[in-house]
């Protein structure tokens, strides 16, 4: 008996929730970044599971694009973190509050 689609989507939802939790709870911008990657991967799992269930390759192709965007985002984001650290000597999101109203 194969695993039903709903189980994969449930796992995907749980992983996405853990990622949201990480973004909200942690104060280190690098950990927040990892939590964002976790959320992107949770969505990838949902895409692949639905692609398998529908017998269509579109989901897998979209996962390819999500990976590309995630890699670009990681490169630019980590460069921003480096520049921030160089200027402010911190990676704590609470201390990087210059733009807060």
């Amino acid at each position: 008996m194969p695993t039903p689609l709903a189980w994969y989507l449930g796992l995907s939802a749980v992983l996405f929730g853990i990622g949201v939790l990480g973004v909200l709870v942690r104060r280190n911008v690098i950990i927040i970044f990892m939590a964002i990657e976790l959320m992107l991967n949770a969505v990838n799992l949902a895409f692949v599971a639905v692609a398998r269930s529908r017998g269509s390759l579109d989901g897998q192709v979209i996962v390819f694009f999500v990976m590309t965007v995630a890699a670009a985002e990681a490169a630019v984001g980590l460069a921003i973190i480096l520049a921030m650290f160089r200027n402010r000597e911190t990676t704590n999101a609470d201390e990087l509050a210059t733009l807060r109203w």
């Binding site: 269930s53 897998q60 650290f85």
Partner: protein
């Protein structure tokens, strides 16, 4: 994939995902992220997506996490003394996260009653995915190369030291 194997792997994945989010040492978080991404690659293999699984290992577990580890070492981050937000925010975040998962579960439970479709031969291998990528999705595929070029130039411009600084 066998449901028993699925449950075991899913438990491991959730455990390592929690380690990513909750561990105080950023290096341990990054290592747990590698484990999570590898386990997701295993799920992809079980879902007839071998090409996506290989890309997941190469791009994520390889390139992206190495980038994370590189930045963590460059910044010389230590174990944090005060890594969490205030208790009120933590409570609100846990409640909100559980509400989100519950909402998603309700929607998913409504959507996922259909039996799995029969797969064409070669589903998810390099040939079939590449055929979709280079015919139907040709324009977005080419646009990703522009995106990557912009990302390279942008990250070099952001990360390099400006003249006169340090």
């Amino acid at each position: 994939m066998n449901p028993v194997v699925f449950v075991a792997l899913a438990a491991l994945t959730v455990l390592s995902a929690f380690t990513v989010v909750l561990h105080r040492n950023p290096v341990h978080s990054a290592c747990a992220l590698v484990v999570t991404l590898f386990l997701l690659a295993v799920f992809f293999v079980g879902l007839d997506a071998p090409l996506v699984a290989v890309l997941q290992v190469i791009v994520y577990a390889g390139a992206v996490v190495v980038l994370f580890l590189f930045v963590i070492m460059l910044l010389n981050l230590q174990v944090e003394a005060r890594s969490m937000a205030s208790p009120l925010l933590v409570f609100a975040a846990v409640a909100g996260g559980m509400a989100l998962v519950a909402c998603l579960a309700v929607v998913v439970g409504r959507a996922a009653a259909r039996p799995a479709a029969d797969l064409p031969a070669g589903f998810g291998d390099t040939v079939s995915v590449a055929r979709a990528l280079f015919t139907v999705y040709l324009l977005p595929f080419e646009l990703t190369s522009v995106l990557l070029l912009v990302a390279i130039v942008g990250s070099v411009a952001l990360a390099k030291k400006t003249a006169g600084e340090g």
